[in-house]
Amino acid sequence: MARGTGKVAKSDIVTFNKKKFRFSDWFAEKVIKSVAFLSIAIVILIFVFVFREAFPIFRMDKKVAASSELMVQESYGGSDSGSTEKVADNQVGNSNKTQTPGDSPSSTLLSKTWMPVSDNPRYGMLPLFLGTLKVTLIALLFAAPLSILAAIYTSMFAKPRIREVIKPVIELLAGFPSVVIGFFALMVLASVFQNIFGYASRLNSFVGGIAMGLAAIPIIYTLTEDALTAVPKTFTEASLGLGASRRQTAFYVVLPAAVPGIFAAVVLGLGRIFGETMIALMATGNAAMISMNPFDSVRTLSATIGAEMAEVVFGDTHYNVLFLIGSLLFIFTFALNALAEFYFKNMVIRKYQSKK
């Protein structure tokens, strides 16, 4: 009992002249550091594994025969009753699929027809790109202005008490699962818009676009609001002090200073829309056709993966093409994120520094 009283403490004397090895500290640090690397590892693994499954596309002499033998019963996804796609070009089952030699899959990638399940499969991604672009554009045109205006109101005009209500309510939307928004679009929006615009196909890029916009609103709103509140108070006070109104201050002082942050918000919202799958699956109609009409059905890139991967044969060309689409989605969102993270953020920093 070394520590009975203060005086006998010397018997277990603490020395500090030599570094002591403490296993638990050493071990904890090693574990923590290695686990932290996991995030990097996951991103790299995603890269590797998504690309790896896409890569065989580019080997022209893909063994067609071998792949058709493999096609026995390895179907993926929920399948106790073979799910029946509504869309016409997808109703053909797996088993009667063969490829005509000479029609290499990679050569059809840029064609205008997406018909992966047929005697002569064609993997033209053009309609998918166009469809994605159309839906994204509609979603962005709907969500960006609405969210930015709402953010301006919240940070510039709303009284503090009201702001405390608005912010969490709008952020609630972020907690709505996309399948719920998709369901809402499918059941409600589609009919409402059909009554208003009188279009033919109930599910189309307009309905899908609006619904995806809903999913992007909380992202753009929150980040824009952050960007606006991050503008130094001195800017606002100086402007108001000079006799400018709140509106003038908002538009001539705060908004310009927050532009890079708002861009970043829109870019991240864009990423969300671009990769959104469930809403696209449920609300866009899923027809892979080339059309500029917003009221025509479309099939987006991500919806294509979602709809077809469950039906596809492991290692098949169709499988590889879907992974190729996945790779493109991944590269695109990765680039958007990098853009928001490095380019816009640096712009924000520079902006405030130069005005200090």
């Binding site: 995030s39 594994f49 929920g78 009753s81 399948v179 609103i217 991240l268 992974f323 990765f334």
Partner: protein
């Protein structure tokens, strides 16, 4: 134009935007509640689907979602907490490693959920599972196919950033004086983390877990082809069984059911259950987070 009039118009337009968004949110809630409420009762929650899913309840979907999110949380929370501890306590802000990890976390947060699904299929099922079968079962298909384990792991990757962000935020609100008090008593860094930092961020860890569970319960794309099933007559009883999930159920019933109209009440009620679930989880998280932020001030 008169300046005051302009001010009023601008304030009006921005205000209307807020109202429009709130209106949409309220509509979604109201329509779901109105459509789903009549069907929502104990039988619905506790029964299996019947008659080709046109009747009966959603019991297996509730259980499937619960089990999946529990496995997911068990996988994601420890990793998330440790990564957050690294970022807040070990990494120096300027180090390239820390910046890279931060960027990786942000990337994970924005990668589309369907990509996680692809990754789960290519990595967990096609690589890990297939190899496990090759090594353990002599090539007999057991792990190399979609199941609840792989679906949960896939979802864990998706929710990892949610946990990391919440926990790191909470750790950073712990005042420096608390760490100094501990270190000045001769505690090591790890002892300080273990007995001061982590206990102080319990509410943040809880928030992160709840947000992750809420997110995981609602996501469908990652489990589309990693484990979710259309219909199962039994509950999953092992990790390599498929499972039913609320979100997937909504998707299937509303798009691929043989008689969409007949099942409409079921669809609405399932949506209501999912919304109530994610909603209440989020509400708890918002309150917790609000408390943490208050402490930070």
């Amino acid at each position: 134009m008169n300046r005051n009039l302009k001010d009023t118009i601008v304030e009006g337009i921005t205000g209307v935007s807020v109202l429009l968004i709130i209106f949409i949110i309220v509509s979604i809630l109201a329509i779901t509640i109105v459509g789903g409420w009549p069907k929502l009762n104990w039988t619905f929650l506790s029964e299996f689907p019947k008659d080709g899913m046109t009747k009966g309840g959603i019991f297996p979907a509730i259980i499937g979602t619960a089990v999946m999110t529990i496995i997911m949380a068990v996988a994601a929370v420890p990793f998330g907490v440790i990564t957050a501890v690294y970022l807040a306590e070990y990494a120096s802000e300027k180090s390239v490693v820390a910046k890279t990890i931060r960027f990786a976390v942000k990337t994970l947060a924005v990668v589309p959920s369907i990509i996680f699904g692809l990754f789960g299929l290519g990595f967990f099922i096609g690589f890990i599972g297939k190899n496990m079968d090759g090594l353990l079962n002599g090539g007999v298909l057991k792990w190399g196919q979609p199941n609840i384990l792989w679906a949960s792991f896939t979802m864990a990757l998706l929710t990892l950033p949610v946990v990391i962000v919440s926990v790191e935020e909470a750790i950073r609100t712990i005042p420096r004086e608390m760490r100094e008090a501990s270190l000045a008593l001769g505690a090591t860094k790890w002892q300080t983390i273990k007995s001061v930092v982590l206990p102080g961020s319990i509410s943040g860890i809880l928030t992160g877990t709840i947000l992750a569970v809420s997110r995981g319960a609602g996501e469908v794309a990652p489990i589309l082809f990693t484990g979710a099933a259309y219909f199962l007559s039994t509950l999953p009883h092992s990790l390599n069984d498929q499972f039913m999930s609320l979100g997937y159920h909504i998707y299937i019933m509303s798009t691929q059911s043989s008689d969409v109209d007949a099942t409409l009440p079921i669809q609405f009620a399932t949506t209501l259950v999912l919304l109530l679930l994610t909603f209440s989880l989020n509400a708890v998280a918002v309150v917790l987070r609000y408390r943490i932020r208050k402490r930070a001030k």
